[in-house]
Symmetry: C3
Subunit: 154 residues, 3 copies
Amino acid sequence: MSYANLADLLSFSNPVFRSYLVCNSVLVLKVLGVAPLIGRHRFAKKIFLSPEDAKMIPGAKVADNDPDIERCRRAHLNDIENIPLFFTAALGYLLTNPEPTLAINLMRAYTAARIAHTFVYAVVVVPQPARFIAFGIGYVITGYMAVSTILKFF
Amino acid sequence: MSYANLADLLSFSNPVFRSYLVCNSVLVLKVLGVAPLIGRHRFAKKIFLSPEDAKMIPGAKVADNDPDIERCRRAHLNDIENIPLFFTAALGYLLTNPEPTLAINLMRAYTAARIAHTFVYAVVVVPQPARFIAFGIGYVITGYMAVSTILKFF
Amino acid sequence: MSYANLADLLSFSNPVFRSYLVCNSVLVLKVLGVAPLIGRHRFAKKIFLSPEDAKMIPGAKVADNDPDIERCRRAHLNDIENIPLFFTAALGYLLTNPEPTLAINLMRAYTAARIAHTFVYAVVVVPQPARFIAFGIGYVITGYMAVSTILKFF
C-alpha cells in the first residue's frame, strides 16, 4: 500500500491537522468545564468526598450519594472513558490521509456530540434517548477512525 | 547525546511507527468494547445508574451494587487508568529510536495483555493471579517505556 | 496567520519538545506510582474489590468503603481526569511556537503540581487548601494551553 507523505499530513497547511488541534483543545476545555459543575453543587450543598474538604466549610459533611453531584461525576467519568480515545483514534485517522471535508466534519461532529452529552447529562437533564444519541455519535466516530487506521496500517 | 532523525522515526516507512498506530487503534476498539459488556448486563438485569435511563424500560431500577455490572465498570476504569498512559509512553519510547523488533513486540505484548485483562476480569472470571499477571505486563511495559524516554531526553 | 515550521517544533533540537517528552514520561510514572499506594493499603488491610482477589489472602474481605483506600482511588481518578488532557493540550500548545522558557516552565510547573497533588492527597494528608492549590495550578495551565492552541489554529 502506498502512503501519503507524512510531513504533508502533519502540517499546518493541512486543514485536517489544524482542525484536529482545535477540536482536541475544545474537548480539553469541555472536560475541564465539568469540574466547576461539580464544585458548584458541592459548595451549594456542602457535601464533599474528603474530610479535609468538609473542614473548610462550617456545617459541611462527607457523602457520596447526592444525586446531582453523582450525576456530574458520571458525566465526568464518561468523558474520560471516551475523549482520550478520540485524541488517539483521530490522530491515526488523520494519518490515513482521509478526504478532508469528511475528516473535518467527523471531528467537529464528535466535539459537538460530546458537548451535547455533558449538557443533557449534567446541566439540564433531558430524557433519554438524548444522552444515548450523543454518546452513540461519539462512539461510532471513534470506532470508525480506529478501524480506518487499522485497515490502512496493518 | 545524538538523536536519530525524527522524520525517520515518525515515518510510514518505520515499522515501529506503523505498529504504534495499529496497536493504539486496537486498544481504542478494546476499550470501546467494554461499553456493550456493561450495557448487556444493564438491559438483562434492568439496572441503571440514572433515573432517566431506568424510565426507558418498564420495571427497571436504579442501583450501583450489582456485582456483574460493577465488575465490568472496574475493568473499564482500569483501562482508562492505564491505556492513555501507554499512548503517551509508547510515543516517547518510539522517539528514542529503539531496536525495532523489541519495540514492536513490546507494543504487541502490551496490547495482548490488556485484551487478556479485560477477558479475565469482565468476560470470564478467571481466578487470580490471571488478572494480576495481565495487569503487571502492561504496567511494566509502560514503566519501561517512560523510563527509557526520560533517560534519552532528559 | 503565519505558522512556524512544524518540523522545527517537532524536533529533538527544540528544547520545548524534549521537555514535553520528559514531562509526559514523568507524569506517566507518577500515575503508575499510585497503584502501589493503593495495593499497599489493600494488602495491609486485606480489603479488595473483587472476590477473586480476596480469595488470594486468608481472612481478606470485599469492601469499597475503607477511607485510606478510597482516598488513594480518588487521587488516581483525579489523575486520569486531568493528566491525559495535559498530554493533548501541551502538544497543541507546543505547536503554537511558544516562547521556550515560558513553555518549559509551564510544563515543569504542571508536572510538579500533579506530583504535589498526589502527595497531599494520598501520601500525607495535608489540610486544604494544599490540594486545591495543586489541582488549580494544573487546571489553569491546561486551560491556558488549550486556549492558546485554539486562538492560534482556529
